[in-house]
């Protein structure tokens, strides 16, 4: 399943890169792109674990940049 999320207050390009690296390592993630310019994240992951993965991604996003929020 692929889903696009809006990223609120994603202010730094390097953070976007770090989020991508961190989320990509999650189990079941096939592909992830954090686009600093369009302020969007496109996540492709296992259907079975999708909701879990999203929850983990939200945490990872906050860990890299506490100001940035994923809009679910």
């Amino acid at each position: 399943m692929t889903k696009t999320f809006k990223m609120q207050d994603l202010d730094c390009a390097n953070c976007a890169r770090k989020m991508e690296d961190a989320i990509r390592k999650l189990d079941g993630v096939a592909e992830v792109h954090v686009n600093f310019l369009t302020q969007k994240m496109v996540l492709t992951a296992d259907d079975a674990r999708f909701d879990e993965i999203v929850q983990e991604a939200v945490k990872l996003v906050r860990r890299v940049d506490p100001d940035c929020r994923m809009v679910l």
């Binding site: 390009a13 792109h33 310019l37 860990r63």
Partner: protein, 613 residues
């Protein structure tokens, strides 16, 4: 300016005022430290806070941490002014950077302002405005003058001219009437149109284009990948060097404070943001600018390849030529050309063959059916008709033989229709596919851009291909190719040692395999054609061949900006690192190397948005 940006600006101003005031108070020692800590706290509390939170989260080496360490280090070594100034400078730079990025983001969003906000649906209670996503296929929607067509469809009633410039970059309006298909994103210039929708919103042209442009930044160019990988290693390496610099030289020479200070400069320079932001932004700008000109590029990687093109292979029909047949020559034997055309048009008036239609079209008037007594199609040969009481044969040389007439041998490009009245040969009409207006200009522009080789591919006869090629600056022609032969022709051109890349341009309908096989496939005339948008790497919204050299020019300019930014950012950072290690550059220069370079690189990247004249 967003609310967040305003808040930061106010903090910057307050801190700057407090900082200036601190200089006026004549205190020393601990009093001075406390005095300078006030503006420092105002401007830097969020950086310190985030640095602490991030360390707790296991995120070291982020820019908050580096700035916190550098400025606190400055305080520790007794340079209070510098500690405050660097933090202030850093925040000002970040503020500029966020404004510049927001500006570029807005201008790209403005380019992509093709998204319809509503659709007018007629209900019993009158006209209501609804979300285009909620309109079912087959609904009749109303489009008033000045409104955007929200969904792809067919005109059920009405006549108008459409402004397609948001999609194609072309300013000439397109006239449409009942029965014509229209695509979303065009603006209705006059009159009321009733449009029966044929596609749901998420499959309509506007959604497809927006999706394509937004996803374009996911296909990363090599230079973008390089920067991302570089950034991953750059920061840790510089930090390690900073630690070594702080520890090793003073072990031999002493002067700990001085070396720690130099190490702090390294920390400030170690932020990779200028690089990480400016390269993707340049590609984003290049893709946005190109889409403004009606050139949709599916990814930064294709811009990169397009910029290196040295061979351009073009399909003939539909790419260089209009793809429709027109009468290009009338050659009578003993009668006037008008008379020959008159006879031909009447003989062919009931035929639905495209060749026959083009003869009737060239005639310009409605043929008079009273003059035609009888017509029969002779399969594979032509037509026999009785016009004004005479037996008229119109068709190929074999038909002429059958009728007993001796046809002139003709060797010219195009399809030839011979005419005879019984055994009397009347002459022939040539029908050919005409060149597009801009085809010649496009090819000479390609050569001016330094494209080494241009090749035309076609399934047509050699004679027809030569006829077209003779009026163009084209280096080679491959004719009489079957669809599969086109792929092998392109493959053979791509064999061996090559410096440049090969671009293939086709109309996207039956060229999909070649579009995919070439280094970059450009499909043209793709308005509304899903297959073309699917198969190609670059999509030209209209069918103007002059967009091919324009696309290459824009790709080259974008790559130029990318390289300028990489060289500039790395160069300045490298220089400051060297000067800092030797003790010539202060922390001020280091902050410039971080945020100053970012701002300049972002401003440079925004040039990629412009469409060259």
């Amino acid at each position: 300016m967003s609310r967040k940006q305003k808040k930061v600006l106010i903090r910057i101003l307050i801190a700057a005022a407090l900082f200036a005031a601190a200089f006026a108070v004549p205190v020393h020692g601990i009093g001075k430290l406390c005095l300078f800590l006030i503006p420092y706290a105002v401007i830097g509390w969020d950086i310190l806070w985030r640095a602490a939170v991030n360390i707790a989260h296991g995120q070291v080496f982020d820019e908050n941490f580096l700035m916190a360490l550098a400025t606190l280090g400055a305080f520790a070594t007794g340079s209070y002014e510098e500690g405050v100034a660097v933090m202030l400078f850093y925040q000002i730079g970040e503020w500029f950077q966020s404004c510049a990025v927001a500006r570029s983001r807005r201008s790209i969003a403005a380019l992509m302002d093709i998204c319809p906000e509503y659709a007018n649906v007629e209900t019993q209670g009158g006209i209501t405005q609804v979300d285009p996503a909620e309109v079912a296929v087959g609904t009749v929607i109303l489009v008033k003058a000045g409104e955007k067509i929200p969904l792809d469809g067919v005109i059920a009633a009405g006549e108008s001219s459409l402004d397609t410039s948001a999609l194609t970059g072309e300013s000439a309006p397109r006239s449409v009437r009942t029965g014509d298909t229209v695509i979303s994103g065009c603006i209705n210039r006059e009159g009321l149109l009733r449009v029966r929708t044929t596609k749901p919103y998420d499959q309509s042209t506007v959604s497809k284009i927006l999706e394509l442009v937004e996803n374009a930044s996911e296909r990363k160019a090599k230079s973008e990948d390089f920067i991302t990988k570089f950034a991953r290693w750059y920061t840790p390496c510089v930090v390690i060097v900073a630690v070594l610099l702080a520890v090793i030289p003073p072990l031999f020479m002493g002067a700990w404070a001085e070396w720690i200070h130099r190490a702090l400069i390294f920390l400030v320079v170690s932020c990779p943001c200028a690089l990480v932001i400016s390269v993707p932004l340049s590609f984003f700008g290049g893709i946005g600018g190109a889409s403004r000109a009606g050139i949709l590029v599916k990814g930064g990687n294709y811009l990169e390849v397009l910029a290196q093109a040295d061979t351009v292979v073009l399909d003939k029909t539909g790419t260089l030529t209009r793809g429709e047949f027109r009468v290009s020559g009338i050659h009578p034997v003993s009668i006037a050309p008008e008379e020959l055309l008159d006879i031909a048009a009447h003989a062919e008036m009931y035929s639905t063959h495209p060749i026959a239609r083009s003869i009737v079209e060239a005639y310009g008037k409605e043929p008079d059916s009273r003059r035609v007594a009888k017509t029969e199609e002779i399969a594979g040969h032509g037509v026999h008709a009785v016009v004004d009481g005479r037996d008229i044969y119109a068709g190929n040389p074999r038909l002429m033989e059958q009728s007993g007439a001796s046809a002139d041998p003709v060797t010219c490009g195009g399809t030839v229709v011979h005419l005879s009245a019984g055994p009397d040969y009347l002459g022939y009409i040539v029908i050919s596919d005409g060149l597009k207006e801009n085809a010649a200009e496009a090819l000479s522009d390609l050569h001016k851009l330094g494209i080494r080789r241009t090749v035309m591919l076609t399934g047509d006869t050699k004679a027809a291909a030569q006829g077209i090629a003779s009026s163009l600056e084209i280096d080679a022609v491959c004719a009489e190719l079957l669809p599969g032969d086109k792929v092998s022709a392109v493959e053979s051109m791509m064999e061996g040692e090559r410096k440049g890349k090969l671009v293939f341009v086709g109309d996207g309908i039956n060229d999909a395999p070649v579009l995919m096989r070439s280094d970059v496939g450009i499909a043209m005339g793709a308005m509304g054609s899903d297959a073309a948008i699917e198969a190609a790497d670059v999509v030209l919204m209209d069918d103007n061949p002059a967009k091919i050299p324009l696309a290459i020019r824009m790709a080259r300019r974008t790559m130029g900006i990318v390289y300028q930014n990489i060289v500039f950012a790395l160069g300045v950072k490298g220089a400051i690192l060297l000067l800092g290690a030797l003790g010539y550059a202060g922390m001020w220069a280091a902050v410039f190397a971080d945020v100053g370079v970012s701002v300049i690189a972002i401003l440079n990247a925004s040039r990629a948005l412009r469409v060259p004249k």
